[in-house]
Amino acid sequence: MTTAAVEHGHGGDAHGHDEVIYQETRDMRLLGFVLFLCSDVVLFSAFVFAYLYLRGTIDEWPPILNGHQLPRLDLPFAEFNSVVLFGSGVTMHHALENWKHGKKGLFDVFMGATIVLGIMFLCGQAYEYSHAAIGGWSSSIFGASFFTLTGMHGFHVFCGVVYLAILWWQTKKGVYDTGHYFGLTAGTLYWHFVDVIWVGLFFLFYIF
């Protein structure tokens, strides 16, 4: 893909011109990526609307299934898992900062930590799904909204872990340098986005 060649930058007299082109295409890619994140927000928002709407149709939450009221979700565990994910956001931020300053060793540490924490979060979600006592995915509107929304989020986290792993591999292959690292910027923004969606979901399902 042309990305690799453009990211690397070239020396020589044409360097100034190449650099202008790089910055302009980077600006375009950044705007495109942020717009993509906005459209992804709409996707989650639509399901959040569905959840709130359906919740508004009944008086008691959690809903009553087969004569018994369903329990609430495991808030303490979610607090723990949330901190894992938020922590990964901070490590990702530091990974990018270290890359910008050329500290490749520290970059590796923080990048690795981010991916590990991301995987930990996914394992946490798997645990949450297996021991949630709110009935299955299709049992009630509670299961429907919770598993669909957190499932979509988990899918986004999984894609994010894969994305970060690919970016990390790309750094090993020398695709980026300290002046040209848009892929890493995009990955960081995506990872923060996934984090912030979780802030919303944590509030909507565990607090509210």
């Binding site: 600006d27 950044l30 705007l31 942020v34 994140l37 609430r72 495991d74 808030l75 303490p76 565990f77 607090e79 723990f80 949330s82 901190v83 894992v84 938020f86 922590g87 956001g89 901070v90 931020h93 530091h94 900062e97 910027t185 960081t188 923004l189 923060h192 986005f193 984090d195 912030v196 979780w198 802030v199 944590f202 509030f203 565990y206 607090i207």
Partner: protein, 66 residues
């Protein structure tokens, strides 16, 4: 020990640590310009708010009753 207490305790400590680091990062980047920096600031800020929520929840200040 009760699992919930361990989870809560770890979450509390983690939320403080992560929240503090997120706030430091936010403060450091406060004057940075550009779409990527503005987006990062917004998302870091929201994430710090998330840590605050976890903190409040671990103290039982917010969350479902009972």
């Amino acid at each position: 020990m009760d699992l919930a207490v361990i989870e809560r305790g770890t979450a509390l400590v983690g939320a403080i640590v992560v929240g503090v680091f997120a706030s430091i990062a936010l403060k450091a980047d406060w004057n940075a310009k550009g779409l990527d920096n503005d987006t990062t600031k917004l998302l870091l800020g929201l994430m710090a708010f998330g840590c605050l929520m976890v903190l409040a929840a671990s103290f039982g200040l917010i969350g479902p009753k009972g």
